[in-house]
Amino acid sequence: MSGKPLRRTLIASVLLISIVSPLALQLHAATPVAIAKDESGELNLSATKALFDTHSACFVDARSEYAYHKLHIKGARSLSDSRFDEQFPEFRQKLPIETLIVVYCSEPSCAKARHVAKKLRKNGYKNVRVYSGGLVEWAHAGFPMEG
Protein backbone atom coordinates (compact mmCIF):
# COMPACT_ATOMS: atom_id res chain seq x y z
CA MET A 1 0.00 0.00 0.00
CA SER A 2 1.43 3.36 -1.06
CA GLY A 3 1.86 6.30 1.33
CA LYS A 4 -0.67 8.67 -0.26
CA PRO A 5 -3.85 6.61 0.13
CA LEU A 6 -2.77 5.69 3.67
CA ARG A 7 -2.34 9.37 4.54
CA ARG A 8 -5.74 10.11 3.01
CA THR A 9 -7.35 7.33 4.97
CA LEU A 10 -5.75 8.57 8.20
CA ILE A 11 -6.89 12.17 7.58
CA ALA A 12 -10.39 10.95 6.69
CA SER A 13 -10.49 8.83 9.85
CA VAL A 14 -9.37 11.75 12.07
CA LEU A 15 -11.97 14.01 10.46
CA LEU A 16 -14.68 11.41 10.85
CA ILE A 17 -13.81 10.81 14.50
CA SER A 18 -13.71 14.56 15.24
CA ILE A 19 -17.17 14.98 13.66
CA VAL A 20 -18.72 11.89 15.20
CA SER A 21 -17.32 12.10 18.75
CA PRO A 22 -19.16 15.32 19.81
CA LEU A 23 -22.34 13.81 18.41
CA ALA A 24 -21.69 10.64 20.34
CA LEU A 25 -21.09 12.65 23.49
CA GLN A 26 -24.36 14.49 23.00
CA LEU A 27 -26.15 11.22 22.43
CA HIS A 28 -24.64 9.86 25.62
CA ALA A 29 -25.73 12.95 27.53
CA ALA A 30 -29.22 12.50 26.20
CA THR A 31 -29.51 8.95 27.53
CA PRO A 32 -31.68 8.75 30.65
CA VAL A 33 -29.00 7.29 32.89
CA ALA A 34 -26.61 10.15 32.27
CA ILE A 35 -26.17 12.19 35.43
CA ALA A 36 -26.33 15.82 34.44
CA LYS A 37 -25.16 18.17 37.14
CA ASP A 38 -25.64 21.86 37.64
CA GLU A 39 -22.79 24.24 38.47
CA SER A 40 -22.68 23.21 42.13
CA GLY A 41 -22.22 19.55 41.22
CA GLU A 42 -25.74 18.63 42.26
CA LEU A 43 -28.45 17.00 40.17
CA ASN A 44 -30.88 19.18 38.27
CA LEU A 45 -34.53 18.44 37.60
CA SER A 46 -34.13 16.73 34.22
CA ALA A 47 -31.29 14.49 35.38
CA THR A 48 -33.23 13.55 38.50
CA LYS A 49 -36.33 12.76 36.47
CA ALA A 50 -34.22 10.61 34.12
CA LEU A 51 -32.95 8.60 37.09
CA PHE A 52 -36.50 8.34 38.45
CA ASP A 53 -37.87 7.08 35.12
CA THR A 54 -35.19 4.43 34.70
CA HIS A 55 -35.47 3.28 38.35
CA SER A 56 -31.70 3.47 38.49
CA ALA A 57 -31.51 5.28 41.84
CA CYS A 58 -33.04 5.11 45.28
CA PHE A 59 -34.64 8.41 46.29
CA VAL A 60 -34.12 9.52 49.87
CA ASP A 61 -36.17 12.21 51.61
CA ALA A 62 -34.01 14.12 54.10
CA ARG A 63 -36.88 16.13 55.61
CA SER A 64 -38.53 15.23 58.91
CA GLU A 65 -40.45 11.95 58.98
CA TYR A 66 -43.77 13.71 59.51
CA ALA A 67 -43.19 15.81 56.39
CA TYR A 68 -42.32 12.63 54.46
CA HIS A 69 -45.48 10.99 55.82
CA LYS A 70 -47.59 13.79 54.33
CA LEU A 71 -45.95 14.03 50.89
CA HIS A 72 -42.85 12.72 49.15
CA ILE A 73 -41.48 11.76 45.73
CA LYS A 74 -43.12 8.51 44.65
CA GLY A 75 -41.18 5.53 45.94
CA ALA A 76 -38.78 7.60 48.05
CA ARG A 77 -37.53 6.40 51.44
CA SER A 78 -37.34 8.53 54.56
CA LEU A 79 -33.95 9.21 56.13
CA SER A 80 -34.33 12.45 58.02
CA ASP A 81 -31.46 14.69 58.95
CA SER A 82 -32.86 15.14 62.45
CA ARG A 83 -33.28 11.42 63.23
CA PHE A 84 -30.56 9.98 60.99
CA ASP A 85 -29.01 7.84 63.73
CA GLU A 86 -32.33 6.20 64.61
CA GLN A 87 -33.34 5.51 61.01
CA PHE A 88 -29.98 4.59 59.50
CA PRO A 89 -29.61 0.97 60.83
CA GLU A 90 -32.82 -0.13 59.08
CA PHE A 91 -31.89 1.86 55.96
CA ARG A 92 -28.46 0.16 55.87
CA GLN A 93 -30.06 -3.29 56.09
CA LYS A 94 -32.31 -2.64 53.11
CA LEU A 95 -29.97 -0.77 50.76
CA PRO A 96 -26.67 -2.23 49.49
CA ILE A 97 -23.68 0.07 49.81
CA GLU A 98 -23.22 0.40 46.03
CA THR A 99 -26.77 1.73 45.43
CA LEU A 100 -27.04 5.05 43.64
CA ILE A 101 -28.82 7.35 46.08
CA VAL A 102 -30.50 10.65 45.27
CA VAL A 103 -31.11 12.78 48.37
CA TYR A 104 -33.55 15.67 48.37
CA CYS A 105 -35.31 17.97 50.82
CA SER A 106 -37.84 20.73 50.30
CA GLU A 107 -36.07 23.42 48.25
CA PRO A 108 -32.58 24.58 47.15
CA SER A 109 -32.03 26.62 50.33
CA CYS A 110 -32.72 23.58 52.52
CA ALA A 111 -29.43 22.13 53.77
CA LYS A 112 -30.83 18.83 55.07
CA ALA A 113 -30.20 16.94 51.80
CA ARG A 114 -26.54 17.94 51.79
CA HIS A 115 -26.19 16.96 55.47
CA VAL A 116 -27.76 13.53 54.87
CA ALA A 117 -25.63 12.98 51.74
CA LYS A 118 -22.53 13.77 53.78
CA LYS A 119 -23.58 11.37 56.54
CA LEU A 120 -24.31 8.63 53.98
CA ARG A 121 -20.88 9.05 52.40
CA LYS A 122 -19.35 8.91 55.86
CA ASN A 123 -21.19 5.64 56.44
CA GLY A 124 -19.83 3.99 53.31
CA TYR A 125 -22.29 4.95 50.57
CA LYS A 126 -20.11 6.40 47.83
CA ASN A 127 -22.71 6.77 45.10
CA VAL A 128 -24.70 9.61 46.65
CA ARG A 129 -26.09 12.61 44.74
CA VAL A 130 -28.10 15.59 45.91
CA TYR A 131 -31.13 16.81 44.01
CA SER A 132 -31.02 20.47 44.94
CA GLY A 133 -34.38 21.55 43.49
CA GLY A 134 -36.16 19.50 46.12
CA LEU A 135 -39.81 18.60 46.49
CA VAL A 136 -41.03 22.10 45.62
CA GLU A 137 -39.44 22.01 42.16
CA TRP A 138 -40.51 18.38 41.66
CA ALA A 139 -44.11 19.19 42.57
CA HIS A 140 -44.08 22.33 40.42
CA ALA A 141 -43.03 20.19 37.44
CA GLY A 142 -46.00 17.91 38.11
CA PHE A 143 -43.86 14.80 38.59
CA PRO A 144 -45.13 11.77 40.57
CA MET A 145 -45.57 12.12 44.30
CA GLU A 146 -47.35 10.21 47.03
CA GLY A 147 -48.22 10.60 50.68
Partner: protein
Protein backbone atom coordinates in the same frame (compact mmCIF):
# COMPACT_ATOMS: atom_id res chain seq x y z
CA UNK B 1 -61.70 24.08 100.94
CA UNK B 2 -62.30 27.74 100.12
CA UNK B 3 -62.41 28.49 96.42
CA UNK B 4 -61.22 31.68 94.78
CA UNK B 5 -64.11 33.66 93.35
CA UNK B 6 -63.78 34.49 89.65
CA UNK B 7 -66.47 36.25 87.57
CA UNK B 8 -68.52 33.54 85.85
CA UNK B 9 -67.71 34.99 82.39
CA UNK B 10 -64.03 34.41 83.10
CA UNK B 11 -64.81 30.75 83.57
CA UNK B 12 -67.58 30.09 81.04
CA UNK B 13 -66.09 31.81 77.98
CA UNK B 14 -62.62 30.17 78.17
CA UNK B 15 -64.26 26.86 79.06
CA UNK B 16 -66.36 26.89 75.88
CA UNK B 17 -63.64 28.25 73.58
CA UNK B 18 -60.86 26.00 74.87
CA UNK B 19 -63.22 23.02 75.04
CA UNK B 20 -64.10 23.38 71.35
CA UNK B 21 -60.47 23.95 70.42
CA UNK B 22 -59.25 20.86 72.29
CA UNK B 23 -62.00 18.70 70.76
CA UNK B 24 -60.95 19.72 67.24
CA UNK B 25 -57.27 19.29 68.04
CA UNK B 26 -57.70 15.88 69.72
CA UNK B 27 -60.02 14.59 67.01
CA UNK B 28 -57.64 15.68 64.26
CA UNK B 29 -54.71 13.96 66.00
CA UNK B 30 -56.68 10.74 66.43
CA UNK B 31 -57.50 10.76 62.71
CA UNK B 32 -53.78 10.59 61.84
CA UNK B 33 -52.04 9.17 64.91
CA UNK B 34 -48.99 8.19 62.87
CA UNK B 35 -48.37 11.79 61.84
CA UNK B 36 -48.73 12.99 65.44
CA UNK B 37 -46.38 10.22 66.60
CA UNK B 38 -43.78 11.32 64.05
CA UNK B 39 -44.07 14.92 65.29
CA UNK B 40 -43.55 13.71 68.89
CA UNK B 41 -40.50 11.75 67.67
CA UNK B 42 -39.12 14.97 66.20
CA UNK B 43 -39.06 16.50 69.74
CA UNK B 44 -36.34 13.90 70.52
CA UNK B 45 -37.39 13.70 74.14
CA UNK B 46 -39.25 10.38 74.46
CA UNK B 47 -37.76 6.96 73.61
CA UNK B 48 -39.12 5.52 70.33
CA UNK B 49 -40.97 2.73 72.15
CA UNK B 50 -43.16 5.15 74.10
CA UNK B 51 -44.08 7.39 71.16
CA UNK B 52 -47.17 5.52 69.83
CA UNK B 53 -48.64 5.29 73.35
CA UNK B 54 -47.87 8.96 74.04
CA UNK B 55 -49.55 9.99 70.77
CA UNK B 56 -52.68 8.02 71.64
CA UNK B 57 -52.86 9.20 75.28
CA UNK B 58 -52.30 12.88 74.44
CA UNK B 59 -54.90 12.84 71.65
CA UNK B 60 -57.48 11.05 73.80
CA UNK B 61 -56.82 13.41 76.72
CA UNK B 62 -57.37 16.45 74.50
CA UNK B 63 -60.58 15.04 73.05
CA UNK B 64 -62.04 13.88 76.38
CA UNK B 65 -61.00 16.96 78.38
CA UNK B 66 -62.25 19.21 75.59
CA UNK B 67 -65.62 17.44 75.61
CA UNK B 68 -65.87 17.62 79.41
CA UNK B 69 -64.97 21.33 79.38
CA UNK B 70 -67.56 22.07 76.71
CA UNK B 71 -70.27 20.17 78.61
CA UNK B 72 -69.14 21.57 81.96
CA UNK B 73 -68.65 18.04 83.19
CA UNK B 74 -65.99 17.75 85.88
CA UNK B 75 -64.53 21.00 84.55
CA UNK B 76 -62.06 21.36 87.39
CA UNK B 77 -60.59 17.91 86.84
CA UNK B 78 -60.43 18.25 83.05
CA UNK B 79 -58.94 21.75 83.18
CA UNK B 80 -56.36 20.52 85.71
CA UNK B 81 -55.36 17.72 83.32
CA UNK B 82 -55.14 20.25 80.47
CA UNK B 83 -53.04 22.54 82.71
CA UNK B 84 -50.55 19.72 83.20
CA UNK B 85 -50.49 19.05 79.45
CA UNK B 86 -49.97 22.74 78.67
CA UNK B 87 -47.07 22.85 81.15
CA UNK B 88 -45.50 19.83 79.39
CA UNK B 89 -46.02 21.36 75.92
CA UNK B 90 -44.53 24.72 77.02
CA UNK B 91 -41.52 23.00 78.59
CA UNK B 92 -40.92 20.71 75.59
CA UNK B 93 -41.20 23.53 73.04
CA UNK B 94 -38.98 25.87 75.06
CA UNK B 95 -36.38 23.13 75.45
CA UNK B 96 -36.29 22.44 71.70
CA UNK B 97 -36.25 26.11 70.72
CA UNK B 98 -33.28 26.52 73.04
CA UNK B 99 -31.60 23.52 71.38
CA UNK B 100 -32.09 25.21 68.02
CA UNK B 101 -34.36 22.51 66.61
CA UNK B 102 -36.91 23.39 63.94
CA UNK B 103 -40.00 21.24 63.51
CA UNK B 104 -43.77 21.20 63.60
CA UNK B 105 -45.22 21.79 67.06
CA UNK B 106 -48.03 19.23 66.76
CA UNK B 107 -50.48 21.68 68.35
CA UNK B 108 -53.29 22.68 66.01
CA UNK B 109 -52.57 21.23 62.58
CA UNK B 110 -56.02 22.30 61.32
CA UNK B 111 -54.88 25.95 61.57
CA UNK B 112 -52.28 25.15 58.89
CA UNK B 113 -54.87 23.46 56.69
CA UNK B 114 -57.57 26.11 57.14
CA UNK B 115 -55.59 29.33 57.37
CA UNK B 116 -52.12 28.35 56.11
CA UNK B 117 -50.60 29.28 59.47
CA UNK B 118 -47.19 27.77 60.18
CA UNK B 119 -47.40 25.51 63.20
CA UNK B 120 -43.71 25.23 63.95
CA UNK B 121 -42.19 25.44 67.41
CA UNK B 122 -41.20 28.95 68.37
CA UNK B 123 -42.18 31.95 70.43
CA UNK B 124 -45.69 32.12 68.91
CA UNK B 125 -46.92 28.66 69.98
CA UNK B 126 -45.16 28.99 73.36
CA UNK B 127 -46.91 32.31 74.11
CA UNK B 128 -50.23 30.82 72.91
CA UNK B 129 -49.86 27.85 75.27
CA UNK B 130 -48.97 30.20 78.14
CA UNK B 131 -52.16 32.14 77.36
CA UNK B 132 -54.17 28.89 77.38
CA UNK B 133 -52.54 28.02 80.70
CA UNK B 134 -53.65 31.37 82.15
CA UNK B 135 -57.17 30.91 80.77
CA UNK B 136 -57.41 27.40 82.22
CA UNK B 137 -56.36 28.50 85.70
CA UNK B 138 -59.70 30.09 86.78
CA UNK B 139 -61.55 26.96 85.61
CA UNK B 140 -59.19 24.69 87.52
CA UNK B 141 -59.44 26.86 90.63
CA UNK B 142 -63.14 27.63 90.74
CA UNK B 143 -64.88 25.82 87.92
CA UNK B 144 -67.59 23.35 88.76
CA UNK B 145 -67.08 19.67 89.37
CA UNK B 146 -70.74 18.80 89.30
CA UNK B 147 -72.60 16.64 86.84
CA UNK B 148 -74.90 19.14 85.10
CA UNK B 149 -77.98 16.94 84.77
CA UNK B 150 -77.99 16.02 88.47
CA UNK B 151 -79.93 18.34 90.74
CA UNK B 152 -77.82 19.96 93.41
CA UNK B 153 -78.79 19.02 96.95
CA UNK B 154 -79.30 21.46 99.78
Amino acid sequence: MARIGFPSALITAPRLILGALFIMSGFEKLLDLKFFGLVIAEYQILPSLLIPAAALILSLCELLCGTMLLLDLFSRVSSSIMLCMMAIFIAAMTYNVMRGLEHECGCFEFLTQWYGLKEEIGIGPIVRDILFFILLLPIALSGSNRIPWKKQQG
